[in-house]
Amino acid sequence: MDKIVNKVKEKLGYSTDYIFKEIVIDKKKVYFIFCEVLCNGSDINEFILEKFSNFNKKDLKNLINILPDNNIKEIKEEEITTFINNGFLICIADNKILAIEVRAILERGVTTIESELSISGPKDSFSENFNTNLGLIRKRIKSSNLWWKELPVGKSSETKVGIMYMNDIVDKDLVTKVANKISSIDIDAIIDSSYIKDVLEDNNSFFPTIMSTERPDKVSMALLEGKIAILIDMSSYVLILPNFFIDFFHTVDDYYQKSINTTFIRIIRIFAFFIAILLPAFYIAVTTYNQDAIPMSLLLLLKAQRSFVPFPAVVEALFMIVSFEILRESDLRMSSTTGSAISILGGLILGDAAVSAGIMSPIMIIIIALSSIAGFVFTSIELVNAIRIYRIILLILSCILGLYGIYLGSVYLLYKLITLTSLNKPYLAPFSPFIKSEIKDSIYKESNTNKKYRNPILTKNKYRGKYK
């Protein structure tokens, strides 16, 4: 037994947060090994050490049955360190090695949603606790068809990665494909769900094909559509795949509001997408190449505003975009109190001063602010980033070629979207390929209770609930 303890000490590098305790019961040595920071000290004292003080020689042979712990198992010598690092207390007695779960709660519990706010609907969000996250989904879908596969990923971290799906709805090939992709990950550690995204994405595109969410209700809805959810230990974001382009225009709030209102909001979001991506480019094109497209009164207004600006319009636009991005980045990294001060300083004072100093024209500030704000209509940060990139690409094209440049850039963007896939499913569905039944839940939103079909691209089990 001493040999085993010495081996473990050596393996753990004599780190001081690992506790090695030795007690003697009826002249028999019992060793306890645990990690101080991962285990609950009071549980060890109250339920383990106190019990052991009343044990005798006979009890040591039957520890597995008399210890008051629901997760206690006999393990092999080579598994000791793994269990210690997972919050288990190792008890070596009577030539047996037992692992007793005494994990400390190191999570923040179920908190309210921070990034995907909704007006109505549930407010609970995922946390870093794997089991809590799993429970939040199981509480919503109680079906026995909600299946679950668990895989350890990461040589050092051995992070638990779980694949969740509805067995009666999902396309099994998709599950196998995702499981194979995850198994093939050869990496030191998985610190967050975003580490897995790179492996699961089919294409190297700016546009997102995997959705990450902290909303359990969103994951539940996706699972019932035939999608797959991936839960990662110590990550408060769950991945959903496959996704279509139009999915990023939807929010969970859409399903908690009247269909007619949702349809209106969805149309607004589509407008916002075009404003966010095209507005600065369009402004540059019409003011530097195609002035004939501007009504005379507006042309005079624009000319008056630009009359004192010393830079070309495109330099002014790029300067504004970069300034806005710097402002946004600094605002993100600051605490909320300092952040608001930066917003005021950057947005109001700097903007006003730039116009007064004659460096910027007011119309350019309006154009860039409007396109940036329109971009933030979307909850997916990857989509927001893609919009930012394409905004700059189209701006440069419009500066070189005018409206023709925007046309060329838009054709290229459309080509990229059409050729994009998410787990081999066409990204632009249900528009390309056209799926009539799915159009009902793309721009237009059908009532939740009247939905007859699931997306035939995702599942063969296409009829919902009462229509089966």
Partner: protein, 188 residues
């Protein structure tokens, strides 16, 4: 190899796109006046300059004149005189003070073939007085209710139909519309 082809295609696409012009570098011409004295032509450009003053935008006007034996020569002289690029795409009116049919059909030489959506007026007064009458570049448009655009004249000519040209002038210090004159009655 693919990249090289893409670069060549891209260069081909951008080749020749030299019509980039900043708003600050164009002179917006809104009204043009043409006078003919014997064999000489006088061409007058009215440039509108929007000026931002105390959160309001006011239009100021600048006039450029040139003399020459032909309209092309006058135009060439004016283009040299005006520092910024002459921008005629938002031209509102052309006022002509001579009875010369040839002049009406010779405007093709001044502008691009597709550019013909401006109004044409005849006047017995000095054209500079007419085009500088009001501080509103659209003022002349409101004088004649039936607008005769150059485009209409070209269509009528091709279809061998009559074209009526409005005659405007200054009477008792007011800019007024007199009557229409048939283009067919104008001397060659």
């Amino acid at each position: 190899m693919k990249k090289v082809i893409y670069i060549i295609i891209f260069l081909c696409l951008i080749f020749g796109t030299n019509n980039y012009q900043e708003l600050n570098s164009i002179s917006i011409i809104t009204n043009i006046g043409i006078e003919k004295n014997k064999s000489n032509y006088k061409l007058i450009y009215q440039e509108v300059i929007p000026v931002r003053e105390d959160n309001t935008i006011n239009n100021k006007y600048k006039y450029y004149e040139s003399l020459g034996e032909s309209l092309e020569e006058c135009q060439k002289k004016l283009n040299e005189k005006i520092v910024k690029k002459v921008y005629l795409d938002h031209l509102e009116n052309i006022v002509i003070n001579t009875d010369s049919k040839e002049l009406f059909y010779n405007l093709d030489h001044l502008f691009d073939e597709e550019f013909d959506n401006f109004n044409i007026y005849l006047s017995d007064n000095k054209v500079k007085d007419i085009i500088s009458y009001s501080n509103n570049y659209k003022y002349i448009n409101s004088i004649a209710d039936r607008k005769i655009t150059y485009k209409k004249i070209k269509i009528n000519r091709n279809e061998k139909r009559k074209s009526l040209i409005p005659i405007i002038g200054i009477k008792d210090k007011n800019l007024i519309f007199y009557k229409y004159k048939n283009l067919g009655d104008i001397n060659d």
